[in-house]
Every structure is written in C-alpha cells, then in structure tokens.
Subunit: 230 residues, 2 copies
C-alpha cells in the first residue's frame, strides 16, 4: 500500500531557507518515506529568481531562450526547448506564475544536487533514511493535459526493473524499466488535489529495495542521439 499525505503549514519560502527545516517543522517523517517537493519552492530557497516586467513579452522570450540549450518548436508565444539539464519542456521550465510580482523563477541549476542537499540535511537532523524527489509540471506530446514529473532525486531509484521477467524472444526487456520517480511526482500531484500552495507531499510505502543513490540526469534524461523525436 502507498499513501500520499500533503504537508500543510509550510510558510512562504524565501532565498536562503533550509527546506529540510521547514519540512521537519511541519511533518513527522519515518524511515523509507519519500518527500516529493515542488520545484518552485526549491528554486525560491536557492534564490533562482530574476526580475521580469510582466508586460514585456520580448524580455520573457529572451529569458526563456537564455535558459534553453536548444529550441525544438516555437509557436504562438510558446517555446518548447531543451534545457541545459536535458529536459524538454515549455518555456525552459521558467515559472512565470508569480510574474505579476515582477519575478520569474528559474529551474535549479542542478536539481539532483538540490535533492541530495535536502536529503542530506534531513538525514543529518533525524538519522532517517528517506528519498527526495523534486517535481515540476510538464506537458508532453500526443496527450493533452500536464502531469508532474521528476526533475531531480536523491536516495530513491529513478528507474527500476519492476517486472523482472523477459519474453522468450528477448524483445520485452526494455518495457520492464519503470520510471518510478516520475510516477511518484504524478502521484504526489493527486494528493494536493485542489489545495494550492502545498509544496511538499510525503509518499509512504515505496518498495524498500528502491532506496539507493540515484539521479534523474543519469537515469531519466535520454541522450539526444538516442531519441527518435527531436
């Protein structure tokens, strides 16, 4: 059984805040919990904020392009690009949802490192073995609606061989590799429901064999030359 509990009571996050402390003040953790943390609060804690005039569409586009390694498509003001991390998403992951306040939030420089930092701080303070997933909301081709995916992780496998069985023909090997951190990010989104401003969800019940060192960048980001759709 898996349970997903939204963590209420985390205050507005500011640059320099230690997210581990904010989480521990608001939630009671156990061994083998996975904390799914929204990118926006990680970016805020890390000070990844830049001033942006909400009325200046050109400045907005320049910011997106400066965060992009490669533009894949551009139409009607929407830029789909590859970030320096290798993520393909809208607007290079730049979060404009607070832009009315004159600031946009950029993705963390290294979300796996951000996750490790939070996991290490949680472990130092509690001695618990926990996993951390940093989530963001991405679109995808071919299917309408967005889903939350993992952009960084620590202490929990990103991709695991869930089925463990292979077809006699040898062809089904590939389909046993499940991206569990993306599934955790998606599950956590459901637990927030209509509650806005809940930046952390505690996922309990993940298979204990999944707790190991890991990285979204190494395990999930597909290398350019391996991809059939760029």
């Amino acid at each position: 059984m898996i349970s997903l509990v939204p963590v209420a009571g985390i205050p507005e996050v500011r640059p320099g805040d230690e997210l581990a402390d904010l989480v521990l003040a608001a939630a009671r953790l156990e061994d083998f919990d996975v904390l799914v943390i929204t990118q926006k609060v990680v970016s805020k804690a890390e000070g990844r904020l830049v001033p942006l005039d909400p009325a200046d569409q050109d400045a907005r586009r320049r910011l997106v392009l400066s965060e992009s390694a490669r533009v894949l498509r551009e139409r009607d003001g929407l830029v789909i690009s590859e970030t320096r991390h290798g993520f393909v998403c809208a607007n290079a992951g730049v979060d404009f949802s607070n832009v009315a306040t004159g600031q946009a939030a950029l993705l963390p420089v290294d979300p796996d490192r951000s996750a490790r930092h939070i996991r290490d701080a949680l472990r130092a303070r509690t001695g618990l073995q926990v996993g951390v997933v940093i989530s963001d909301t991405f679109g995808r081709p071919w299917r309408s609606g967005l889903t939350d995916v993992a952009i960084g992780c620590a202490g929990i496998a990103a991709v695991v061989d869930l089925r463990g069985t292979k077809d006699a023909g040898g062809r089904e090997l590939a389909v046993t590799e499940i991206c569990v951190v993306d599934e955790m990010a998606a599950a956590a989104e459901l637990a927030k429901g209509k509650a806005t401003g809940i930046p952390v969800v505690v996922l309990r019940g993940a298979d204990r064999s999944w707790f190991r060192e890991s990285s979204v960048r190494a395990e999930v980001v597909r290398r350019y030359e391996q991809d059939l759709f760029r």
Copy 2:
C-alpha cells in the same frame, strides 16, 4: 490524503469474464473509490487475443502494422505508431508478454467503453459511485523508463483544472489543465511494487469534484493537427 491498495486474489482472467464480479469478490469498495485496472486483463476479458508464433518476427510486425493507423518511427524492430484510438506508443499497444504461449493481446477496441462497462456493472451490483481507469505502460520521448498512463476511463474526470488561477498576462491558463487519470495510472503502478500479476489497484481519496462522466479519447488524445511532435 490518497491511498493506493493493490487488490490481491483476482484469478487468471479469461475471455467472457465479468471484471466487476472478479473485483467485487476480492476487494471491499467505497463511494468515490477509483479502480485502476491493467489493460491486459481487460483485453483478456474481452477476448482481444490473437494467435502468434513467437519465432515469427515478420508475423509480429504485420500484427503491429495492422493495429496502427500511422507509423511514426521504426528502428531496430521497434515500431512507434499511432493506434486507431490516437495513442502513440510502441508496437501499437500489442502485448507480447504472453507470446510464449502462442498468443498476443491487442488493446481493447474502445477502452473508454470498456471502462464504462465495468463502472456500470459495479454500480448495478453495489450502488456505489466509483471511477474506473484502464491503464497501460507506455514509453515517452525525451525521458527514459516507462510509466503507466490511462487509455480509458469512466466516472472520473480525465483532465481537470487543478490550479484555478491565471496569470495576469493570460499565458498560464494552459498549464492549469492536469491529466489526473494519467497521474492515477502512474500512482497505481507504484502500489503494485514488485508484485507481479496484480491487475487492479484501488485509489481512495480523489477529490470528489472529479467524479463525472468523461473519456480519455475526448479529453486526453490530442488531435493530429494540434500536435507539434508528429
């Protein structure tokens, strides 16, 4: 809070079986539960099985092409195509994992209808208001590892506006549309963990406002001409 409980004890499914009866014999349901059911057992119950010689790679490819409306990519024996439902996936969703037994399983003809049938049967037998999601395991471009997504649903919204807030500039409207049935399919996969042969997971705690008539085909499948990546 969301909980996900795998349903143990469902026997091997055969053509003609009524899945609602098999689920009710194995699980105690409540109002506003969502049943996430693996495609494979739905296809089996509906008799969507075809004979296939596991050694005959040409027959395998012919079967995949016959289930495809349009081939997008083909490389190293892997066909990425669009099914008649509009799903883009490997091998047109044909399940070869039992091919050693001389049979392959095709996708349901209309997975939304399959979901409605199961939901209607559950309601007729129990009077409960439940949602049904039929899940399958798909790859995706740009990210390694597979995740479970919804191929059919009934009684539960496919896409909902979770955030409900719009940027003053009007540009963030699109990013509030969350594909909750895909997130439910992903979450259910986690609950199965390493247990093989668990075809049903009960998701409890979904927002009650999401329970309504719906369809993956109408809400999730993106029309060909609206897609930037075909």
